[in-house]
Amino acid sequence: MKSLILHTATRLMIGVLVLFSLFLFFRGHDEPGGGFIGGLVGAGAFTLYAIAFGTEATRKVLRIHPITLISVGLLSLVVSGLIPMFVAEPFLTGKWLFIEWGAFDTKLSTPLLFDIGVYLCVVGFIVTVIFSLEEEG
């Protein structure tokens, strides 16, 4: 779409939107947010970009093919389920790693990896559909 306002706003907004989606994603375990919601915002960012600049430009910005996002997402889900099996616990048991840096602590876990998978699948799905529909005509 040719609109100076939309172009300028999108250029400014896309970074904020992606950051916001990551913010929503990471706070998700304790505060409202999470992989699904974060993924929707992330997909929204690229949708906005696609409306403003077209799908070719968005593909360049995204760099990764959306279907690759879906497959990597599915792989993350499976791997997060398989990790506990290596320590002889049932599929998808949550495993946690607490790292204490002093100033702030980090929680790494298989549910986090799982949520990353959800995030990637949601972004990949919506972007795939948007691209397909936009490029159809």
């Binding site: 375990h29 992989g35 997402g73 599915l74 049932p90 949520d115 559909v129």
Partner: protein
């Protein structure tokens, strides 16, 4: 054992990178994996020979109803199958590296064959009924990829689909049978079931369990009339046929029958069904093998015959039958593996597998000839090869059959006469006689392609001449585990002059005679009729079923899913009204307690706004865009309601989904023609009545549901357990990614598939599909995106 199986899967998945690293040497590198697994399994031999078993278990899924464990159970039977799978697997990986050298899809072959090997090893080592089924399905799926390896060719794809459909339908029957068996006995581990056979046999579900399990095993092991998929699957490259049909895939059904013999066997119905089908299969297919001139087809039907023999032996269930079975399985795996590989080598080096177009390859391919000759002598059951011991034992078992021994032995001899002739055809025709001009200038196959067949052929000689090498260490444990009680025996070549030996001589003489008249026999009218009836008949039946099913699907798609959205809605809503309305009125009844006094002023305001926007949309909505925006307002209103009740996550999701849905719908609307009213007034009135009724039903349902006291048990559990158990304070997210992660996984997979479907449907249009599918594609893509968004 989990480590071995998991390692094979992991290496399979990284095999493309291993190929990049080692290039043409990667066959030798990757062959180390099955070879290492073979050595690992072989290291258990002394332990198993001493009469012990090995059990290892890891919890996979733990539920209140039952547990699914990745449990592994190693006894004589699973050890022998495991060693056949990994041992022949080693040769097949090597053989494939030679056969497919230079093929662009070679890395894919390594990946697929290793995945298949892992699945197959899983089937034979698994102890838990559910994990057996999972591995079983994996073998169906990976063999689908392998059979359809040359996917550019239509007959490859057809054969792959045929194999998948036949074994897949059998798999569905099998899972039902296994689950019934689990619930009937209360045991989910085969090792525990082995001692509880009486419970299963005396259970009222026994017959159902038996038929379902047999349906699974018979389709997998290509028993008549399901045998047609196996010869069809010869469309695969030879390394695949050699592996799937000598040692693995088709033996899975035999393995399962043998495994469950102590649980389901030794009843009269088992004897009749298993023994009967086995006998029928071996007789029909042995003679079918003589109606072909393609080496692989001849071998394929002789394989079906061997599977029939094994099934029959399991059905007989006597001690002698078990002894024969254990020897026969091993000898068949060795000679058939070798013969398939030689057939492929001949095809590869001479350019054809048709025995009529081959001859005199003896001096050009001396090593392949030696391997083929030894293997064929074993297959024909001529001393001193291992196949001779196997056939003698089969005859002895047939003579001792608990039912109609005369009939069984007669049919067995008649079938084996054909097999002797088939053995002669596949080795004498291509290798002996006068040199025939072949499409390619034939020369000996490379080392990687003859090492396998030659080793297997030499082992057939070794075990034949020195049977004590394996009788106590492997054959006795195998027979004991199929029999379900300890057995003891030894093997020898010479049993003195007895009835089986005389029958062997009769078979041999008959076989030579049939070979001499083969050219005339093959072209004779009765043989043509026989081939048309028994080989093509079941295929025609299959094709009829498939096209019938497709016709039914087409009819119901045209009728029910005709592309008119309003028709879909009418169907869905009427179904809802009838099914839910009936249940609601009979089970619950109307509860009228709206509780208007508890509704806050802002909730009133919001509800009125939502309804008003709907009203405006209906009254003035003559364009699709207005309707979409109206629906969007309803969605945002709902988000506000969620927010009022403290469901921040839900509200956020609702807003985002609503936004993206509007964008998606608008993108679709660009391509849709202008809205026109096509319905008559009567049908609009009808639709209105249905809509109002559905709305009223939903209202009454919600009133009845909220009138019941709210049970806070589950929500209290999540609220309390969320932080201590899952280290998260956002209950919604913790439920999604931890407590109910399996559900989420299923949903995400649906989203992913919907995404791929939209992509495929929309992109497919570009490649010029027929015009009538375009509208269908568009409608379905809209439906799919809607489903994904919800």
């Amino acid at each position: 054992m989990l480590t071995v199986v998991a390692l094979i899967f992991i290496v399979a998945l990284i095999s493309p990178w291993i190929y990049k690293l080692f290039k043409e040497k990667s066959g030798w590198v990757l062959a180390l994996l099955p070879f290492g697994s073979f050595l690992y399994l072989a290291s258990w031999l002394p332990h198993i020979a001493a009469g012990n078993v090995v059990q290892q278990s890891t919890t996979w899924v733990s539920m209140a109803l039952f547990e699914v464990n990745l449990a592994f159970y190693l006894d004589g039977l699973s050890l022998m199958f495991g060693m056949i799978i990994t041992g022949i697997g080693t040769f097949i990986v090597l053989y494939g590296s030679g056969y497919l050298a230079g093929d662009a899809y070679l890395p894919r072959f390594y990946c697929a064959i290793l995945l298949f090997m892992g699945s197959m090893l899983g089937v034979v080592l698994a102890d838990n009924l559910i994990s057996i089924f999972v591995f079983w399905e994996l073998t169906s799926f990976t063999s689908f990829i392998l059979i359809g390896f040359t996917h550019e060719q239509e007959n490859s794809r057809k054969a792959a689909l045929q194999a998948l459909l036949v074994t897949g339908i059998g798999g569905l029957a099998l899972v039902a049978g296994l689950v019934l068996m689990g619930f009937a006995s209360g045991h989910w581990e085969v090792s525990a079931l082995l001692n509880e056979g009486d419970i299963v046999r005396n259970h009222p579900y026994y017959l159902a369990i038996l038929i379902l399990v047999l349906a699974g095993a018979f389709t997998k092991s290509a028993q008549f009339p399901f045998s047609f998929w196996l010869p069809g699957a010869m469309a695969a490259p030879t390394p695949v046929s050699a592996y799937l049909h000598s040692a693995t895939m088709v033996k899975a059904g035999v393995y399962l029958l043998a495994r469950l013999n102590p649980v389901l066997g030794s009843t009269e119905i088992w004897l009749i069904l298993v023994g009967g089908f086995g006998l029928l299969t071996l007789l029909v297919s042995a003679w079918l093998s003589l109606s072909f001139t393609d080496m692989k087809q001849i071998l394929a039907y002789s394989t079906v015959m061997a599977l029939g023999t094994m099934t029959m032996l399991i059905g007989l269930g006597t001690e002698m039958a078990m002894k024969a079975l254990s020897v026969y399985i091993l000898s068949h795996a060795m000679y058939k593996g070798a013969l398939f590989m030689v057939a492929g080598a001949v095809d590869h080096e001479a350019g054809t597998r048709d025995v009529l177009k081959l001859g005199g390859l003896r001096s050009l391919m001396p090593i392949s000839f030696a391997a083929a000759a030894l293997a064929a002598i074993s297959m024909a059951g001529i001393p001193p090869l291992y196949g001779f011991i196997a056939k003698e034992l089969v005859y002895e078992a047939a003579l001792e059959a608990p039912l109609w021994p005369v009939l069984v032995i007669t049919l067995a001899v008649i079938a084996n006469i054909a097999i002797v002739a088939a053995s002669a055809i596949v080795v004498i025709r291509p290798f002996l006689g006068a040199r025939v001009e072949t499409p390619k200038k034939a020369h000996e196959a490379p080392l990687s392609m003859w090492i396998g067949p030659l080793s297997l052929a030499v082992l057939s000689v070794l075990f034949g001449v020195l049977p004590f090498l394996i009788d106590k260490s492997l054959m006795v444990p195998v027979a004991s585990s199929v029999y379900g009680a300890p057995m003891d025996f030894y093997l020898s070549l010479w049993h003195g002059i007895n009835l089986p030996l005389i029958l062997s001589l009769v078979t041999l003489a008959g076989g030579i005679l049939v070979y001499r008249i083969w050219d005339g026999l093959r072209e004779s009218a009765p043989m043509k009729v026989y081939q048309a009836g028994f080989a093509m008949g079941p295929i025609r039946g299959y094709n009829g079923l498939v096209s019938g099913l497709l016709g039914l699907a087409g009819w119901q798609t045209r009728t029910i899913q005709n592309g008119l959205m309003s028709n879909y809605l009418v169907t869905i809503l009427i179904t809802l009204l009838v099914a839910v309305g009936y249940t609601f009125l009979t089970r619950s009844g109307i509860v009228w307690n709206p509780g208007f006094e508890n509704v806050l002023i802002q909730e009133w305001a919001l509800s009125i706004a939502i309804i008003a926007s709907l009203g405006i949309m209906l009254a003035f909505g003559h364009s699709r865009l207005t309707m979409v925006i109206g629906a969007g307002v309803v969605g945002f209103g709902l988000a506000l309601i969620y927010l009022m009740h403290g469901a921040a996550d839900l509200a956020m999701t609702q807003v985002l989904v609503e936004t993206l849905t509007v964008i998606l719908v608008v993108l679709v609307l660009i391509h849709v023609p202008k809205l026109k009213e096509l319905r008559s007034t009567t049908s609009r009135v009808r639709d209105g009545v249905i809509a109002v009724a559905a709305g009223a039903l939903m209202t009454l349902l919600i009133l009845a549901a909220t009138a019941a006291p709210f049970d806070a048990f589950i929500s209290d559990f999540y609220a309390e357990a969320s932080y201590p158990l899952a280290h998260g304070r956002n209950i919604v997210n913790v439920i999604l990614v931890d407590f109910r992660a399996l559900d989420t996984m299923g949903e995400v997979v649906v989203v992913a598939i919907a995404g791929l479907a939209v992509y495929a449907l929309i992109k497919m249009k570009r490649f010029g599909s027929p015009p009538d599918t375009n509208t269908g594609g568009r409608a379905s893509s809209g439906a799919a995106s809607k489903q994904g968004g919800s």
